[in-house]
């Protein structure tokens, strides 16, 4: 066989292997063989996933990820946490760099077209606007034409510019956006309500308030690759088990979140089912 022929055969073999892989993905098998669950989590997003003073990644969703690892592999430590941001988490998942993402992922139709969701374990407030205490602004309509800081890649950015006519000034990360707000480069910062609420607890931010309340509540879920039924079932079972044991309510307390009716109701339903 010529060198070129060999190359062609191996290319075809590789291509069919890839094709086979994407047709019947079985992440569960891979995870068990590897004995580690690789999870994409946030590390800049209290209370869901953030770095504590010791530099460890902790948070509501990190606890959930560890619980799933415990259910699948027998130990919460058989886990590798990969920090992701809104702009790359779906790409990380699709590229196979993580098995599952628990990264403040809101459930939207557009996302549903490219990935699968786990059960919806949180109902999160959408974006609100952080502004200086003195502002008289209290509705989205009043922000028309105003410079508002935001984050590049946020799902609501198009709505902000096209529907509310806001002049968005979008940064790559939160630290830059907070800094720009303090520098008065924008008159407010539009971001996930829960995170902004937590920010207000910090001493530096006492002269700021949530001026505009969220316009929607969005269920949050873990993200899975499409057509991966065995893994999806295993992850969902683990989450529902955690709900039934009241773990999510414990984590709400642990990470200083207000107790939500949504989580309480899901816990009741899950406990009844078990």
């Amino acid at each position: 066989m010529t060198k070129f022929g060999k190359l062609a055969v191996s290319a075809v073999a590789l291509a069919s292997a890839v094709a086979a892989n994407s047709a019947v993905a079985d992440t569960l098998e891979d995870v068990i063989a590897r004995d580690t669950l690789i999870v994409g989590v946030k590390n800049d997003y209290p209370p869901y996933g953030y770095l504590n003073d010791a530099g460890e990644t902790v948070g509501f969703e990190v606890e959930l990820a560890k619980y799933v690892a415990k259910e699948l592999l027998g130990s919460p430590d058989k886990i590798e946490l990969v920090p992701v941001v809104a702009a790359n988490r779906i790409q990380f998942l699709e590229a196979g760099r993580v098995d599952v993402i628990f990264a403040t992922l809101g459930v939207t139709d557009q996302r549903d077209e490219v990935i699968d969701f786990t059960v919806h374990y949180v109902s999160a407030a959408g974006p609100s606007v952080l502004m200086p205490e003195a502002t008289t602004v209290n509705s989205w309509e009043q922000l028309e034409g105003q410079p508002i800081c935001g984050i590049q890649g946020s799902y609501y950015n198009k709505k902000m510019t096209e529907e509310f006519g806001i002049n968005l000034v979008n940064f790559k990360n939160q630290a830059d956006a907070y800094r720009a707000l303090k520098d008065n480069r924008c008159i407010g910062f539009v971001f996930d309500d829960m995170t902004l609420q937590k920010k207000l607890e910090e001493a530096d931010w006492s002269e700021y308030k949530i001026a505009v309340a969220p316009y929607e509540f969005l269920p949050m879920a873990g993200g899975l690759r499409e057509d991966d039924p065995a893994f999806a079932e295993a992850v969902n079972n683990a989450i529902v088990k955690a709900e039934g044991e009241g773990k999510l309510i414990e984590w709400e307390t642990e990470f200083g979140m207000p107790h939500s009716d949504y989580i309480a109701k899901r816990a009741e339903a899950a406990a009844a089912q078990n």
Partner: protein, 238 residues
């Protein structure tokens, strides 16, 4: 074709974003390239005067702006200069706001970065001048200034055109980093579009083509200029 989905291009919001992005990229590239060329010429002129303190000053400028990443320069200009006191009072709100807008910060740092590289390019052009030519000028009675403007600059600018083309194409591509400080250029909107649509590959391919086309137009123009200005017997004049 190849399973690529470009249906998102029909959305007027995305069309708008792409057009605005291209315009901002072009503006940023045009402004910073012009200023960079100007800085390059003035710097090389300064160096040719052989004044000790001016040489030191220009060399210091070149070392600082050529040896630091333009991204760092932009972030520095955007976040640090206002803290250091470059502020103004907004007449409408009465608040203290940074003097330099994001676009100004990007433009300044790209101009200085490109300018530092251009100084070196123009200097190399001046320094390759054959001694015989300047001596011929001197024997014909040209003064130092007349030699500089009428003999050295016309020859040197032709010699350094290829490296200037390199610098300008590089500068054009570096404008994409301005998205970090919120300048809404092509990459800024590209990121938002693929985050909305998850058509990362399709958006990337389109953006790639746009950059190739724009930079090709620039380098074609530069090569035409090179051909037009060619010295008989050198390069394209052979």
């Amino acid at each position: 074709m190849f399973g690529l989905d470009y249906s998102w291009l029909a959305d007027p919001a995305y069309q708008n974003w792409l057009v605005t992005g291209v315009i901002n990229t072009l503006e940023l590239a045009a402004l910073s390239s012009s200023v960079a060329i100007l800085i390059g010429m003035l710097g090389a002129l300064g160096l040719s005067l052989r004044v000790f303190w001016l040489d030191a000053l220009i060399e210091f400028f070149v070392e600082v702006f050529r040896n630091t990443p333009p991204l760092l320069q932009m972030l520095f200009a955007y976040f640090t200069l206002s803290t250091l006191g470059l502020k103004t009072t907004d007449p409408v709100t009465g608040l203290e706001v940074p003097l330099l807008s994001a676009f100004a910060c990007a433009c300044i740092s790209l101009s200085l970065f490109g300018g530092a590289l251009a100084i070196e390019a123009f200097r190399s052009g001046l320094e390759t001048m054959p001694k015989a030519i300047t001596e011929a000028g001197r024997s014909l009675g040209y003064s130092r200034w007349a030699r500089f403007w009428r003999i050295e600059v016309p020859i040197a600018s032709r010699v350094c055109l290829p490296s200037l083309t390199n610098i300008l194409t590089n500068l054009f591509k570096t404008t994409s980093q301005a998205s970090v400080i919120t300048v809404p250029e092509l990459m800024y909107y590209a990121g938002q579009i693929y985050n909305d649509t998850f058509r990362t590959l399709e958006v990337m391919i389109l953006i790639l083509i746009i950059y190739v086309v724009l930079v090709s137009i620039l380098s074609y123009g530069m090569s035409r200029l090179e051909a037009y200005l060619t010295l008989p017997g050198y390069g394209k004049g052979q």
